[in-house]
Structure formats: structure tokens, C-alpha cells
Symmetry: C2
Subunit: 246 residues, 2 copies
């Protein structure tokens, strides 16, 4: 078992493992990473889901998270350039189209700008990136650098946080509608879209990771990559919470 809190104690058992995990054990380990380190457990998200965030905190979160949104298709294009076959690229390219849209006014980035408007931020304010705090920028840039520098399979594994996002997002839609009545509900389209996109993407990525990570080392690198991505999401919330304190 992976442990949480205080100094990180790496799981020596995994590191020393000589035989690969079974498919079921491997999947369980991946899910364990999310169970312990996914950002739904971050105090800022917990407070959000308890309806405790101020208007300014919600705005700060949306404005900062825009930097992540705008970087996602860049990250996915880097992965696309590293994938080993056109069959894989055919699946992965959908992620980029989802975020960029096929035409003006479409796509996830556009939907995030609309979310900004729904919480009272102008489109220009988001695009100018003035509200983005350094810790968010560093975390997101670290993610793009990670997929650039690591192997393609580690880059794919890092995307597996989407295993955990549908639960968080479906809760969030409810929370934002119920506990933040001042938010214009018509601006929540981003989250509605992700409810169908994320499971589709994750099924593809999970199958690739399961198929290609066969040795103990490959499996561990995939687990580490997923943990890294959890850290990227977590560190963004740390920085946002510091900039927009309770």
C-alpha cells in the first residue's frame, strides 16, 4: 500500500518486486494512487464542495485553471508526436479536437472561457492571464515538460487521472448549481462535456498502459507517472489556495 502524509515513504515492496503485478493488481495500484493523491481530497476542493468558497476564490480558481486548460492540447500534441503508431494517434487526436474545437466557438477551452463569464470574469481577463499565479504556471509547465521528456508510455500513463475525474466532476456540477447560486448555470457546459469525454479517453489510455507495461519496472513507471500527474493537479490547488485564502 502507498502511504499518504508527512515525509513520503516509497513503497519498497513495489520497488523490489521481481514478478510483474497481475492486470488486476496493476489496475488496483493505479486506482490506489488516485484514492490517495487525486486532488478531490485537497482542502481547497473539499471547501469548494462544502459550499465554503467565496466568489473571489471561485473566480481565482477558474482564472488559474484556465492556464491548465489552454496547455492540455499542447501536452496532447506532444504525446501525439511520440505515439508509436497511427492507430494510437487516431484515438489520441480526438483529445485535441475536444479541447480546441473544430470551429470557432467550440471546444473545451472555449467552454472554460464561458465558465469564466458565468462566474463574473470577462473573457479578456482570462486570456490576459494576469490572475495566474506562479505556482500554477510552474505546475502546468512541469506537466508539459514531463510528457516531452519521458517515454511515450509514461506520458500516456500520466493522463490516467481521468480515471478519477467523472466522480469529482458530476459531484461538482451538483455542488456549483446548489451551493453557488450566483454562478450562471448555463456556463457549466465544460463539466457536462467532460462527463462523456473523460471515460472514453481513459478507457483508451488505460488499455494502452495495461497492454504496454508488462515488467515490474514499466508498471512502476506508470504508477509514478500517474502520481506525478496527481502532484501537478494538487500543486495547482496549493498555489491557488495561497493566493486566494479562506
Amino acid at each position: 500500500m502507498i502511504e499518504q502524509g508527512g515525509f513520503i515513504s516509497k513503497d519498497k515492496e513495489i520497488k523490489k518486486r521481481e514478478k510483474p503485478l497481475t492486470q488486476a493488481e496493476f489496475k488496483e495500484q493505479l486506482i490506489d494512487v488516485g484514492r490517495l493523491f487525486y486532488h478531490d481530497k485537497h482542502p481547497f476542493h473539499v471547501a469548494m464542495h462544502e459550499g465554503k468558497l467565496s466568489r473571489e476564490q471561485i473566480q481565482g480558481w477558474v482564472a488559474n485553471r484556465y492556464y491548465y486548460q489552454k496547455s492540455v492540447p499542447i501536452k496532447d500534441a506532444v504525446i501525439l508526436s511520440k505515439l508509436p503508431s497511427r492507430e494510437f494517434r487516431r484515438d489520441w487526436i480526438q483529445r485535441i479536437t475536444d479541447h480546441d474545437g473544430r470551429n470557432e466557438g467550440e471546444g473545451g477551452i472555449e467552454a472554460w472561457l464561458k465558465l469564466g463569464e458565468a462566474v463574473g470574469l470577462s473573457r479578456e481577463e482570462l486570456l490576459e492571464e494576469d490572475h495566474i499565479v506562479p505556482g500554477v504556471r510552474f505546475s502546468v509547465d512541469a506537466y508539459v515538460n514531463f510528457v516531452q521528456e519521458k517515454t511515450w508510455i509514461e506520458a500516456v500513463a500520466s493522463s490516467l487521472t481521468e480515471l478519477f475525474s467523472p466522480d469529482l466532476i458530476s459531484n461538482r456540477i451538483q455542488v456549483l448549481e446548489d451551493l453557488y447560486p450566483w454562478i450562471n448555470h448555463s456556463g457549466l457546459g465544460y463539466f457536462h462535456n467532460r462527463l462523456t469525454q473523460a471515460p472514453r479517453d481513459t478507457n483508451i489510455a488505460l488499455k494502452i498502459v495495461m497492454d504496454y507495461c508488462q515488467t515490474p519496472e514499466e508498471q512502476q513507471r506508470a504508477i509514478d507517472a500517474l502520481r506525478f500527474k496527481c502532484d501537478v493537479l494538487w500543486a495547482q490547488l496549493d498555489a491557488i489556495e495561497h493566493a486566494f485564502p479562506h
Copy 2:
């Protein structure tokens, strides 16, 4: 004027230019690069278009050029990851879909494999890459490295060889049908598709280069990038001609 042949004498006038070229002059310079250095003038292509290539030479060309075809979407994904906006990505992503196809059995790489069959090479032979000579591999890899390492606008400019390809390709279709009756004409779909794809892609890329290269230095870097790409294509034919001599 750029000169051809012997030692390369760099055009000192361009290098020293203090004022930017007009749009018309800049476009003329780009076209000049193609007029002098595009691979339609390579002895191997000249011989092909005179009907002088043997079956083995045609096969060698198709088998080797496969390595270029399979690398094009990788190159385009690298460019995609560097483009500065989702508006640009929306246009550029089409190139990747054109090459990879949306579904099994579609796309430019698949069409090239069919061309292989039309000239008497099995799909497996192409996929195994045993016929690919080092010079082709080095040239194509240099192209992928170039777009990785250079600025996004130089990467875009390097794609402008497509300015010159429709003329070459429409001639080639006629040539292959008329002068190489042993080739199965049903396998020429790749070239037919490129007749509409290349002008569309080039119009987009040319507009970007014209808009973004405003200083003499930026214009010169675009011209140099296009020249580099001509060299990539030319060097492939050098290597193919040496491996499959007349």
C-alpha cells in the same frame, strides 16, 4: 537572386538587407527557392518523368519514401504542439488526419502502402523498413529534428515545399500511368488526394508565414527553412539513386 550549383554562394544582399521585403518580393523569394532547389529537378525525378526508371528503381523509391510518409504526421504533431493558438491548431490538425486517416484503411500512409502494392511490394515489406537506406532515414530524421528545435514559424515555413508539389504530382500521375504501364493504376490514390490537400495546406501555411515574418531576419529564416526542406527532399533522392543506380 539565389544561385545553384557548385559551392553555395549565400545571397549577401538578402543577409544584409535592412528593410523587409515587400509581401510580393518575399513570396517571390520563396518561390525562387523552389524554382532552384525543389526535388523535381533531381536527376532521379527527371529520369522518372522521362520513363527511364526500372521496376526496381521505382520500387526502391516507393519503399524508401514510405519512411518520409510515416514521419510526416509525427513532424506535424510536433508543429501542432508548438503553434501559438488553438485557431492555428484547428487548421494544422487536418494534416495529421489526412495522413493517419480517421479510421482503419484510410489516410495518406495507407494510400502509400497501396502504392507499394501497385508497384509489386507487399505491405509487410514496406512496414518492415528493410529497404530503407541510411541517407533517407537521416534526411527524414533531420526534418523531424528541425521542427522540434527551430521556432514554430520556421517549422511552418519548412512545410512550404507544398507550394511546388501540385505541379510535380499532377505530372507524375500522368507519367506513371503513361510510361510505367506495369504499375497498377488503382494504387495512385495517394497522388490524387494530394492534388487537393497540398494547395489547401499551403494556402494556410503561406498566409501564416507572410503574416508573421515581418522583419528581414524573420523573412530570411523562413526562406532558409524552406531551403532546408528542399535539401531534405533532395538528399533522399541522392540516397535512393545511389542505392538503386541507373
